[in-house]
Symmetry: C2
Subunit: 189 residues, 2 copies
DNA sequence: CGTCGAAACGGACCGCAGTCCGTTTGTATT
DNA sequence: AATACAAACGGACTGCGGTCCGTTTCGACG
């Protein structure tokens, strides 16, 4: 099999990198929501049309940015040190996984919001988290609809829900405790 | 204690109703995302500024619309026929509750998206659902952090998550089965 | 090295959310 | 009923996301 049908022209690739870099820089200077597409285009030295050609929409651009961080995290999960990475017992990994995911979703919450539904959890490297949890649950011999259980476990870690709770004054330690408790209850069958 | 500091002027109240009605009508004619604020204002026979004065933003308007349906549902839960309403055993009510909530979130998904974070679950009649589940869990003598458990149970019923699963081809019956299964596992302690 | 087609580019242009401020209207008071 | 003031109104205006299309550039091939 060949690669994707179109290997992408050289200037296009250069522009994409320039745009991502420009966006990242602008975002860390002012906040995510204050970065305009025009500003990104200008800083990258390209026309506005180019930005939209590459990323489709503002959400698309943010999603691309997210994707990068997400990949690093995926690497930490699949090849990093235990207990998050391989080498620890499935149960310990599951506990560590939730904690890590919780913090990740929190750290990127602004970006996640800006990425909307085009975000990491839709198409691309999509439900990596889901697959991983599912895998761990299987290893733990948890019975039942493991795929659904994975979704259900992950759901309360999502950015919007976590943020809402923090806004209501729930301390983050309690959210972590909740996660661990939830895992314990479901793993015991 | 008196009412809210400002009882709201008569014309203001009239305009609010007109706007909500206009919005509802336009939404059911074309889809939610095709309804513009100008159109709503025009149909209600008021200026655009008035719309924003009343509802703050497009999201605010959508949230107000949602709020109405949400209240009806709340009434069904608190005073309607069993098993959703009072009169059934707590366990049966909890099962019925999730199913009903799932369908509700699905039915209003477009509106929920349009209402963004200003939506029902933030400030106004806020986490009614959460309180109710918490109440039922307490009645069932489920031990632990019941407030967190309520959030965790509700999370996988949220619009975005449900829609994502449907998009992946999961049939809705499986989501319902997942809910019932989850409840069973958590209630057994 | 010259030619050619496809892909990328850029920026003028459009529609809509949201703001601003001068004007109008409702209501409390005497 | 007249007055006065706060609150509501309306629509011109701004800024940004997104589109469109004529022009430029890449790179494959002879």
């Amino acid at each position: 099999m060949a690669d994707q049908p179109a290997p992408e022209r050289a200037d296009a690739q250069r522009n994409r990198r320039a745009l991502l870099e420009a966006a990242a820089e602008l975002i860390d200077r002012c906040s995510v929501e204050n970065v305009t597409m025009d500003a990104v285009a200008q800083r990258a030295g390209v026309g506005k049309g180019t930005v939209f050609r590459r990323f489709g929409s503002r959400e698309g651009l943010m999603a691309a940015l997210l994707d990068h961080s997400e990949r690093e995290w995926q690497h930490a999960v699949m090849a990093g040190p235990p207990p998050l990475g391989p080498g620890a017992a499935p149960c310990a990994r599951l506990h560590a996984f939730g904690e890590s995911r919780l913090r990740l979703n929190l750290r990127h919450s602004a970006l996640i919001r800006a990425a909307g539904h085009t975000g990491s959890r839709s198409v691309p490297a999509a439900s990596f988290a889901q697959l991983h949890v599912r895998h761990l649950l299987t290893a733990l011999e948890v019975p039942g609809d493991v795929a659904y259980l994975a979704v259900a476990l992950l759901a309360p870690l999502e950015g919007p829900i976590v943020q809402q709770q923090l806004r209501e004054g729930v301390p983050i330690e309690r959210l972590e405790a909740g996660w661990h408790d939830l895992v314990d209850r479901l793993v015991r069958a």
